[in-house]
Amino acid sequence: MTVVGGDRELARQLAELFLEDLGPRVTEITAAVSALDAKRLHAGAHALRGSAGSIKADIVAAAAGVLEAMGRASKLDGVLRALDELTVAVANLRPRLVALAARA
């Protein structure tokens, strides 16, 4: 987390906050996709993209950005594949953040 300039405690706090919000954010995106609700998808994916961008979780941010763009354009072709990609990106990121958040 280079953005915090070596401040380990701030990095730990950011990881903890991000993890707390991650589940609800992914749940919201998944619900929006299930409902084919473009507006809701745009809002939910925008929130996750911003938050992931803040901690330089670039792969998650990019995957959320794809869903955000689909929602903004109300073009949901391929949305399930995009959701899968987000799910994989989140699954890859989560253990690293859990480890970071657990550091004393």
């Binding site: 915090v4 401040d7 701030l10 991000f18 925008h46 911003g50």
Partner: protein, 120 residues
């Protein structure tokens, strides 16, 4: 050192901005939506600067900026807009509304600190 109000619904980003500002010795207040932000901005003594997200629930950042600049208690407070989704027209609008600087998310700490120094 300044007292800075951060108005941002993304608490991860808000915490990051707060950390950067505290590291430089600034005092930080936070609000997580536009309504809270306006209430905090109107409190006395006034804050020295506001870092404002432009895309929030409870009223857009542009509305919030307009209200800050129209209220005699807050109109002189410098406002730095931070946004992950503002286009050139949006940037122009918030500058016309009175934003001192418009910065993009994700945060680049040096950009924020430079903008804050210039605004104070």
């Amino acid at each position: 050192m300044a007292t800075v109000l951060i108005v941002d619904d993304d608490r991860v980003h808000s915490h990051l901005v707060a950390g950067v500002l505290r590291e430089k010795g600034h005092k930080v207040l936070t609000a997580f939506d536009a309504v809270q932000g306006l209430m905090q901005a109107k409190k006395q003594p006034p804050v020295d600067a506001i870092v404002l997200d432009i895309n929030m629930p409870g009223g857009s950042g542009e509305d919030t900026l307009k209200k800050i600049k129209m209220n005699s208690n807050t109109s002189n407070i410098p406002v730095i807009v931070l946004s992950g989704s503002i286009d050139a027209k949006g940037q122009e609008r918030v500058r016309v509304l009175g934003a001192n600087a418009v910065l993009s998310k994700p945060l680049v700490p040096e950009e924020l600190l430079t903008a804050l120094d210039a605004a104070l």
